[in-house]
């Protein structure tokens, strides 16, 4: 009895998954518990395991293609089993399309075989004349005659945009000439200056999610911003002495996480979520830390950060950030935050405003620590200052409440010993 393998729901917000890689191929035998594929969800790449045993009879989705939740990814069964009814009734747009693709690939492979068999005979006088002409490789490189390459280079035409009319899609002289006629007039002159190529990048699942969620946040929750300047001299001194005594190095961000966590316990309005009819004031403090990775942005969560010491916050943050960069974060490690901190201080950004990470009420944007002249006792002396900006959802947090929270954070950072209290 054939078994359908369908796209599982791997996170709360997932609507579709992209096959990052297949660990099995058609004809492979699998047992329950075997990891058969890696699926890219909104934020993480998750392993999909088989729940049954059998032979992989058909893989319906190519790597890199998306499948909606519940969509058919593959069929498991006994070798030689007829699964045509399953494939027909797949009712999965993606699978149909990928079947076509698979067929196209197969026929391309056959073509290749054929052209191989009619090897490049050097004589034309043999009774059987060659019909198919030279090279046809499927390795994805652009085939163009030397002349076409030269012409494209001279005219600044990107061969990727040119349709080849020669054998196996080889781009030849006439293709470049005809391309020129339809090309943008500015293209040729602009080409002299451009070193980067324009291209279209498929929006990844993560980028889609980031886009959707941040738009929702920015467009639905009325943001307002308050900035405060914090004297970091004491925090810096405290950090140096702590780092001298410990193997784990504590960062300024860890100190900010700790300070915010304490402040959140004192200002519950900031530690809240808006649900339309109700405002939920969270009993626990879970601070998310924004981590930039190549593909986008992730927000791993330090749970109960108010109850954790700096050392633990530091090591947890480090570990989670590492997982985020490797795309190994599990959904539970990214969910349930009550407040978020975004720090661009390491990039030298003095101050900025961040977009609230829903369903949080606020996000704190942390800037760099600057050397600034400050007036102390009537004299200008060197000082260390850091600007933080709180973005707040005005439906929950009002200006004064945000200010009170910021002042608490400021006091904690300027008097780090008070965090011990």
């Amino acid at each position: 009895m054939a078994i359908k393998i369908e796209m599982p729901k791997l996170s709360d917000t997932m609507e579709e998954g992209v096959i990052a890689s297949w660990n099995v191929k058609e004809g492979d035998k699998v047992s329950a518990g075997d990891i058969i594929a890696e699926v890219e969800t909104d934020k993480a790449t998750m392993e999909v395991e088989a729940f049954d045993e059998g032979t992989v009879l058909k893989i319906l989705v190519d790597e890199g293609d998306a499948v909606p939740l519940g969509g058919l990814m593959a069929v498991l069964g006994e070798e030689g089993e007829d699964i045509s009814d399953i494939l027909e009734g797949a009712g999965n747009g993606d699978s149909g399309e990928s079947e076509e693709k698979a067929e196209a690939k197969e026929s391309a492979a056959e073509d290749k075989e054929e052209s191989k068999s009619s090897e490049d005979s050097t004589t034309l006088t043999s009774p059987k004349s060659e019909t198919s002409s030279s090279s046809s490789s499927d390795d994805g490189r652009i085939k163009a005659s030397p002349l076409a390459r030269k012409m494209a280079e001279d005219k600044g035409i990107n061969l990727e945009n040119v349709q080849g009319s020669g054998p196996g899609g080889r781009i030849i002289k006439v293709d470049i000439e005809e391309y020129k006629e339809t090309a943008q007039p500015a293209a040729a002159s602009a080409a002299a200056f451009q070193s980067l190529e324009s291209r279209e990048v498929k929006v990844s699942q993560m980028r889609k999610t980031i886009g959707r969620r941040l738009s929702e946040s920015k467009f639905s929750s009325p943001h307002f911003y308050e900035t405060i300047d914090i004297d970091m001299k004491a925090a810096m001194a405290a950090r140096s002495s702590m780092n001298e005594a410990n193997d784990v190095k504590i960062s300024f961000n860890d100190i900010v996480v700790k300070a915010c966590s304490i402040a959140l316990t004192r200002h519950q309005a900031v530690n809240s979520s808006w649900y339309g009819d109700i405002i939920k004031e969270h009993g626990d403090v879970h601070v998310a830390v924004a981590v930039a990775i190549d593909e986008g942005l992730m927000t791993p969560v330090i749970r109960h950060s108010d109850k954790k010491g700096l050392l633990q916050i530091s090591s947890e943050t480090r570990e989670l950030a590492g997982l985020a960069r490797d795309r190994k974060l599990q959904p539970e490690q990214m969910e349930g935050s009550t407040f978020t901190i975004s720090n661009l201080g390491m990039f030298g950004i003095e101050e900025f405003t961040a977009i609230i990470n829903p369903p949080n009420a606020c996000i704190l944007a942390v800037g760099a620590i600057r050397d600034v002249p400050v007036v102390e006792n009537g004299e200008v002396v060197p000082g260390k200052r850091m600007k933080v900006t709180l973005s707040s959802d005005h439906r929950i947090v009002d200006g004064a409440k945000a200010a009170e929270f910021l002042n608490t954070v400021k006091n904690l950072l300027e008097n780090p010993l008070s965090m011990l209290l």
């Binding site: 050097t122 004589t123 034309l124 006088t125 043999s126 009774p127 004349s129 060659e130 019909t131 002409s133 030279s134 005659s145 030397p146 002349l147 076409a148 390459r149 030269k150 009319s165 020669g166 054998p167 030849i172 002289k173």
Partner: protein
């Protein structure tokens, strides 16, 4: 211009050079009494006598060696082979002695000798009478190789060959001796060795063809013209030294090339041209160079097989279609 047969053009060249220079003499099988196996030397015995028109026994190595010795001693021999297919017997004299004498004596000895005769197949003469040797001799340094296609070229180039102080192999096609063509009546008509000729101007594809294959290419070009393909034909005339710049310039114009060669494919003239073109004109090529050659098979005797074996216009058209991507 006078219309002459190929054999008459050759005879004129030899006659004029013998008249001009006493050191020039001709020797070979049946060149004297019989007036030449293909009548290329007709009347020369009567005109120049036994000392300068010499019949030899059937002994290619022997009389080629006499020719080499004579050239070493200051004479200018023309050695006629009944066919270059038999001249393989004399290959030691040609390859080891004629080609190397100047080199090995530091230039003290010059080698003003011409070896001439029919090259390649004549028709149904079997495998041992049908080989094109121009590629093979062109392989060796020190030898100049000419394989002419028309009476005019034959006259002008043979005169140059006789005057050359280096050994020259001058090849003719047995099937072309009766072929007529306009020959320049210019006094002392000379065509320099190493200069090819655009024999048909065209813009779509360059066909390089020499010797008998020039005529095959010409036939193909006429057919292709009806199909709207404008073929340019280049006859390099001398295989070595080769007029490569002429070919390269043509390819810069047409971007496509077909080489038609009467020899077998491996390491032959067509292979060499193909290599040189990719080296010198890579950025001008819109298609891989195609070649039309004999198959890598010896000449069959049976007429139907022989006709299938020898490159013809149809083969050239196929190759042109391939390089112009018309299928």
């Amino acid at each position: 211009m006078a219309e002459l047969q190929f054999r008459e053009a050759i005879r004129e060249a030899i006659d004029e050079e013998m008249a001009r220079e006493e050191k020039v003499f001709i020797m070979g099988e049946e060149v004297a009494e019989y007036n030449g196996a293909y009548k290329a030397t007709e009347g020369l015995l009567d005109k120049y006598g036994y000392k300068r028109v010499i019949d030899t026994p059937i002994s290619e190595l022997g009389f080629a060696g006499i020719g080499v010795g004579a050239a070493m001693n200051g004479l200018r021999p023309i050695v006629e082979f009944m066919t270059f297919n038999f001249a393989v017997l004399a290959a030691d004299q040609i390859i080891n002695h004629a080609s190397k004498a100047g080199y090995m004596t530091g230039g003290q000895i010059s080698m003003p000798i011409v070896f001439r005769g029919p090259n390649a197949s004549a028709g149904q003469l079997g495998a041992t009478h049908s080989v094109a040797y121009d590629s093979m001799y062109a392989h060796f340094p020190g030898l100049k190789v000419i394989y002419t296609s028309e009476p005019d070229d034959a006259k002008g180039l043979l005169k140059s060959a006789i005057r050359d102080d280096n050994p020259v192999l001058f090849m003719e096609s047995e099937q072309m001796y009766g072929m007529k063509g306009e020959v320049s009546e210019e006094e002392d008509y000379i065509i320099p060795i190493g200069k090819g000729k655009i024999k048909r101007e065209g813009s779509d594809v360059t066909v390089v063809a020499h010797g008998k294959m020039y005529h095959v290419a010409k036939q193909a070009a006429a057919q292709l013209e009806k199909d709207g393909v404008d073929v340019e034909i280049i006859d390099p005339r001398t295989v070595k030294p080769l007029d490569l710049p002429l070919i390269v310039e043509s390819i810069k114009k047409t971007n496509r090339c077909v080489v038609v060669d009467e020899a077998h494919p491996f390491a032959g003239f067509a292979a060499e041209i193909g290599f040189l073109i990719q080296r010198e004109a890579f950025d001008y090529l819109d298609a891989p160079v195609q070649r039309v050659t004999l198959p890598d098979v010896n000449a069959p005797f049976a007429k139907n097989l022989f006709d299938a074996w020898l490159p013809d216009a149809k083969n050239v058209i196929e190759a042109v279609n391939k390089v112009t991507y018309r299928n």
